[in-house]
Amino acid sequence: MRNQFLIILFSVLIILLLISCGSQKERKSNQLLFWSSNNTQEIDFARYIVNEWNKHSKSGKVSFQPVPEGQSSEEIILAAVVGKTTPDVYSNMWQGDVEDYARAGVLVAFDTLKGFNDFIFSRCDSSVIREVTSPDGHIYQIPWKINPIMLLYNKQIVAGLGFKEPPANYEQFNFASEKYKNENIDSHGYVKKWFGYSEVLVTWWQRFFDFYPLYLAASNGAPLVKDYKAAFDNKYAVEVFSFLRNLYQHNYFAKERLSARQDVFLSSIIATRFTGSWEILHAEKFKPEGFEYSFAHMPVPNDHQGPVYTYGDPKNIVIFKTCSNPQLAWDFIHFMIDKKNDLKLSQLTNQLPRRKGLINDSLFAEYFENNPKMIEFARQSEYVRGTDPYPNLTEVFDIISQEYEECVIYGKKAPEDAIHEAAKQVNLLYIK
């Protein structure tokens, strides 16, 4: 009797275990699941949007949750794709990943949905639409928000060096760096403060904050990859590598990782940094009394002409094919990124929507009046680029990063050779 009881108990346990490994419950076609980014401000925004939608929509309801915690949201999305547990709508997709997902057939093409084409042309200019159009001619992502990478600078330090304006080109930047270094050498002959800092890690995405925005600035927004070939084996990339290499060789930038200690910018250990508008919230909260800072465009070559582009760090919205009602998902997204809600996004998160004519839009006037530091970002938003619509971008950035370390940080390779080698390796990536 006791043995029979044990057998039954084990059988029940194993059955329960197997049942618990089963697939997720299917959602009804009038219910959507929306995953937002998991930072506090964006959760507030997502909550607001979902409440507003559910209050007014008769066609279907939306529930939301922040993207689950993980090492990176990209990793979580990948796991969800593999496990077929993707949400219907996801709003924090890195543009560089979209092409890989589109090729894997897990994304819905927006241009097949009613009302999308008219909308996208009213929101974005043609260069942005080109940027998000896949080589197969479809659009699998909606450009939603950007955080342009700009030069953050300490106003007092820059003024103290005799500059009325922040250094705008390589020559001015080098001159300011040299002057600042000379003022900050300790009794042992070591530099104790640097003019700037950029992460020296070879991690591929670190190049979003140094090489890539500088390359876009120098080249008027030229692509890295075009027609499945490296498009950066040119004088602009070489100039950027030379400029950065000079900063490290002369000790204007620290080779050491400074990120694990107190904020080096707010404690005036560095005078500048290449970063986005997210610094504002942080700086306003932690800056010492009297500390003044501002933003300017990325430094450009001395003979640069035309507008100064930068990397926009765009995050886009996608609909996964696990969605049973893509038209409803699109209607929800349409609501979420209308002009009024774009303003709400800026108000709640201090990020800008990727929308043309932002700076002159009367609806945003009050926001910019209340957030004057965002004006520079709004001006810059007219001249931002995301990433090129090609697969394997992680590896492209990794290849560049490897050459970057060898040439820029350690000066082991000439800039021309490093860029040429990187381009050669990228071309190999795309050989079918």
């Binding site: 043995n3 029979q4 044990l6 057998i7 084990f10 346990l13 194993i14 990793e75 990948l78 794709v81 593999v82 890989d100 997902y101 090729r103 894997a104 897990v106 042992h188 070591y190 530099v191 104790k192 020296v200 890690l201 070879v202 991690t203 591929w204 620290a254 080779k255 050491e256 990782r257 694990a260 200690r261 992680t394 590896e395 990794d398 490897q402 370390e405 060898e406 940080i409 350690y410 082991k412």
Partner: protein, 285 residues
């Protein structure tokens, strides 16, 4: 009676289930993967032996193996010498012996990530404690983590500090098994402290030394957290360990097939090294 026959099978069923799901299946699956190209989201593509061909031409993988070897060459002798000396000291009747034993063991139970972040600060070129001391005594600063020739030795020193406590305990156990009358006899013969150490202690704890070598070899081969947190494999890939490279191939670039190939090759390499060490132990016995 019939039911009774099945009882043992039911009792081991959870373990068998766990073994099949989490050990046997992953091993078989990763062997299958080595013949495929797979980025997780697209279907697997059979590519024959291409991953193996790539492995033997991959300069980063060979560099990662050399880096791991450098780490082992520094780490293992350093660890054994320090652990043995400290164990020998802690085996004497010194004051606060219990406190020191606990203190040396403490780093072993602290999280690896915490330790690496702490040492990153100590190794700082401009503000790190070690360089402050060097400049205070009139010496030049060392690029502990930014100089490619120093980065791996620096990691090896830190790993030794972190793990030495465990090996002190193992050596202490070994030392306490040495019969006291051997030392008494040596004392009667007028042997010095070092003579006793080399002629009695070392031969008697030989099995412990070999065990420590095997354990630190396996531990050294799996070097990951330290370079991952401190240097990301840099500078100039000088701290790119084999495991870190396998991880990067798998989870940075999603080259699952290639990553599995590297993993399999590396597992066989560790197996061979441990087999050689085992042979030495048996020969010694």
């Amino acid at each position: 009676m019939k039911t009774k026959k099945f009882i043992p099978y039911f009792l081991v069923a959870p373990y068998i289930f766990h073994f099949l799901l989490f050990v046997a299946f992953p091993v078989i699956f990763s062997i299958v993967l080595t013949f495929h190209q797979w980025n997780i989201i697209s279907p697997m593509k059979y590519i024959g032996l291409a991953n193996y061909t790539r492995l033997f031409q991959d300069k980063f993988f060979s560099q990662s193996l050399v880096n791991t070897l450098i780490f082992l060459i520094i780490h293992i002798p350093l660890q054994i010498i320090i652990a043995l000396l400290l164990a020998e000291t802690l085996n004497q009747k010194i004051k606060f012996r219990g406190f020191f034993r606990a203190a040396f063991f403490l780093p072993v139970i602290v999280s690896g990530v915490v330790v690496t972040i702490l040492w990153q600060q100590l190794y700082g070129f401009d503000t790190g404690l070690f360089n402050k001391i060097l400049t205070a005594i009139g010496l030049g600063r060392i690029g502990w983590l930014v100089d490619p020739s120093w980065a791996m030795p620096s990691i090896a020193i830190m790993a030794t500090w972190k793990n030495v406590g465990l090996y002190i305990i193992l050596f202490l156990v070994g030392l306490q098994t040495v019969p006291v009358h051997y030392y008494e006899a040596a004392d009667l013969e007028g042997a010095t402290h070092w003579q006793k150490f080399f002629k009695i202690t070392l031969p008697m704890i030989n099995p412990t030394i070999f065990m420590v070598v095997v354990l630190s070899t396996i531990g050294g081969f799996s070097l990951f957290i330290e370079p991952y947190v401190m240097t990301g494999g840099g500078p100039l890939n000088s701290t790119l360990s084999a495991v870190l490279y396998i991880y990067k191939q798998g989870f940075f670039y999603y080259h699952m097939g290639y990553s599995a190939t590297l993993g399999l090759f590396f597992a066989l390499l560790i197996l061979s090294v441990v087999a050689i060490q085992k042979k030495f132990i048996e020969k010694d016995k």
